[in-house]
């Protein structure tokens, strides 16, 4: 027999042995060790803890859904990039088969380097910086929208919003937080707006502000002076609250506050702090489908683990963290082994149709990025973030302009 034929036969025999029922059972008896790296302390602390809730309920739900055992290895990188790197190394050394995390683009980049170096698959739950999947990495996968996707979806949802409510606002003032995320979004909007001629409004002023600022009175008065119909806002939680309060103090009530894609206004803190003032704010963000079967399972598990809490406030954070672990588990089921390379290959072949987030099936392109993740128009109604668009996932009708609208 020629060597090549021999090798092929050997490979075939090996493959056969690998997928034989005995082997699968043995491989799946072993739990999949998922290293979860999140910022549970430091300035990203409250977001990391929110994501952790999604991770904590994952093993139970995944066991029901796929029959696969998942074991979590949790690490806190303390909102510090150096720590992210060493924690990742530590998890790999302790036997993690796959890494999941980290919410922050800077940490994601650091962990990606380690993952590539060690040949360890790394599934990013949330990180919007587009460059992460442009570096030619082979082991890094992201199941989240890039900043450009978020913007594109966000703006088109705004168009849908106006159509659904039959309103034609002519002008918007665009305020955005000046950090990694905000800047990426601002660039995206700047690029996309001229092309989106079907949107009826023009951006009359653009105001960037410091994310750490505690006083935004100057910014708000500038915005009010622009006389725009509504506020287009890219923010984070703390500044969204400060802005909303400042708007009341300066007696500015535009048609609405619409975010084309940023955190803040759908988070629990916003409701708790602002009470009735939180009503009608709109965020167009990647979200979960409230009507999907997977969502219902996750909701039930969440309620059991967090009886005093509500999944809807952690929708984005917990939802995508859960899905990242789901992706890892699904790949494990198909690969039948915990070997990192096999897992990475399996992840590349992912095609999950029954999922929690909105949009098409989870499939990675050649850069490790999932395309077609959907966004929802989420409006604060009755003190809860509610999906109002797209229509088939909606549980209520959108309200725009807000009843509090007063022409300047």
């Amino acid at each position: 027999m020629q060597r090549r034929q021999f090798n092929k036969a050997l490979a075939a025999a090996g493959a056969l042995a690998a997928i034989s029922p005995l082997n699968i059972a043995r491989a799946q008896g072993k739990p999949l060790k998922v290293g979860v790296i999140l910022p549970r302390s430091g300035y990203l602390g409250f977001i990391g803890q929110s994501c952790q809730k999604g991770a904590d309920l994952a093993p139970g739900v995944i066991k029901d859904m796929l029959g696969v055992n998942v074991e979590l290895m949790n690490a806190d990188f303390e909102s510090n990039v150096d720590t992210a790197r060493t924690r990742a190394e530590r998890l790999i050394q302790e036997g993690a088969n796959v890494l999941v995390g980290p919410f922050d683009s800077g940490a994601a980049s650091a962990i990606a380097q380690v993952a590539e170096q060690r040949g360890m698959p790394f599934v990013i739950n949330i990180a919007a910086a587009p460059q992460i999947t442009e570096q030619g990495y082979k082991f890094v996968f992201r199941n989240f929208q890039t900043a450009q996707d978020i913007v594109r979806n966000g703006l088109s949802l705004i168009g849908e919003l106006f159509q659904a409510t039959n309103t034609i606002p002519r002008s918007a003032v665009f305020m955005h937080v000046n950090d990694t995320f905000g800047q990426a979004m601002a660039k995206g909007i700047g690029a996309a707006m001229p092309r989106l001629t079907q949107l009826p409004f023009k951006i009359v002023d653009q105001i960037g502000y410091d994310p750490a600022a505690k006083d935004l009175s100057v910014e708000v008065s500038k915005a009010k002076a622009s006389n725009a119909d509504f506020l287009l806002l890219v923010c984070r939680l703390n500044d969204s609250i400060i802005l909303r309060r400042e708007m009341v103090k300066q007696k500015w009530s535009p048609m609405g506050i619409v975010s084309p894609g940023s955190p803040g206004m759908y988070e629990e803190q916003y409701f708790k702090t602002l009470g009735k003032l939180s009503e009608y704010s709109i965020s167009n963000v990647p979200w979960y489908n409230p009507k999907s079967s997977v969502t219902k399972r996750v909701e039930a598990a969440f309620k059991k683990m967090n009886p005093k809490d509500n999944l809807v406030f952690h929708g984005l954070n917990a939802g995508f963290t859960f899905e990242a672990i789901l992706i890892a588990a699904d790949a494990y089921k198909r690969a039948g082994s915990t070997d990192p390379k096999a897992l990475a290959d399996a992840i590349r072949q992912t095609n999950i149709k029954e999922k929690m987030s909105l949009g098409g099936p989870i499939k990675f392109n050649e850069k490790g990025q999932v395309e077609g993740i959907g966004s929802a128009c989420v409006q604060n109604l009755n003190m809860l973030p509610t999906v109002v668009l797209p229509k088939d996932a909606a549980t209520a009708k959108p309200i725009f302009p807000a009843p509090t609208y007063k022409k300047a």
Binding site: S41, G42, Y43, G45, F46, Q49, N178, I207, G208, Y209, D210, A212, A213, K214, D215, S217, V218, E219, K222, L237, N238, I241, I242, R245, V248, K249, Q250, K251, E268, Q269, T273, G275, L277
Partner: protein, 267 residues
């Protein structure tokens, strides 16, 4: 708040890098009192200030005193360590979510012609002026106040004359802490409190104190107003997110050209 820093540095010559963290504690204290007793933060100032006086006094007497004569980097390290402990203890106790108080007048504003004046800010400003005048009167007219000023002017001389310097220093730190407490209670009406809030405020306090003049109370007030106005103007004319840059630029200029600040005295 800058007042407290100025007083502490002006007299005890210790740079309190944990100043912002102390204010954060005051803010948490106010939220706890509000949640438990529905005590308005401006009224809560009284018990919180009292508690802080004791805390400041003890901190100075027990911990910081030996450090007065040590090099600055040691002092700095000590306060950095204290700051780390404080911030993370708060994280452990209160969790990472923001806490706040909800009072009726929080979002009200007065209309004076074309101007809209924020009610809560006005009250905070009022509290600051009252505190400053009180402190000023204390240092000018009371015996203890004069004694403290004596220590600041001439450490050795004060000791010779028989003043209990250690006690007076501790007293001063306590007073500085009182300022922080008042500031914290007022602040919590304007801003939600989270554990990592401190450091930005410490930095701001320093800018104000340096510009206004270390050791000068009027200077601290003046500095506060100046920085506030300049930031607002900078935000209006230049890019708003660059307004802090302007304050730091101002700080550099003052340090170079008039290091004693606008109203400070040359030591």
């Amino acid at each position: 708040m800058a007042l407290g820093l100025s007083v502490i540095f002006g007299v005890v010559r210790v740079v309190n890098f944990a100043h912002g963290e102390m204010m954060t504690i005051a803010m948490y204290a106010a939220t706890v009192l509000f949640a438990a007793l529905h005590l308005d933060p401006f009224l809560a100032m009284v018990p919180v200030a009292a508690a802080f006086f004791v805390f400041g006094y003890l901190l100075q007497a027990a911990v910081i005193n030996p450090f007065i004569t040590r090099p600055e980097h040691s002092q700095f390290m000590l306060l950095v360590a204290i700051a780390i402990i404080l911030v993370n203890s708060m994280l452990m106790i209160f969790g990472p979510d923001a806490h706040n108080v909800q009072v009726d007048y929080q979002l009200e504003s007065y209309e004076i012609g074309p101007l809209l004046v924020d009610k809560a800010r006005l009250m905070a400003a009022g509290a600051a002026v009252v505190a400053a005048s009180g402190l000023f009167a204390f240092f000018r007219y009371s015996l203890t106040g004069k004694a403290i000023r004596a220590c600041a002017d001439n450490y050795l001389g004060a000791k010779v004359v028989g003043l209990n310097v250690k006690h007076l220093y501790a007293l001063t730190f306590g007073l500085g802490a009182v300022c922080v407490a008042i500031a914290g209670c007022a602040m919590v009406v304007l801003v939600d409190v989270t554990p990592p809030l401190g450091p930005a405020y410490t930095l701001l306090a320093f800018v104000i104190v340096i510009v206004g003049g270390l050791g000068s109370m009027g200077g601290a007030l003046l500095g506060g107003v100046l920085i506030g106005v300049s930031e607002a103007l900078a935000g209006l004319f230049i890019e708003p997110s660059a307004k802090s840059m302007f304050s730091f630029g101002l700080l550099i200029l003052v340090l170079l050209l008039r290091p004693q600040g606008l109203l400070g005295r040359r030591t």
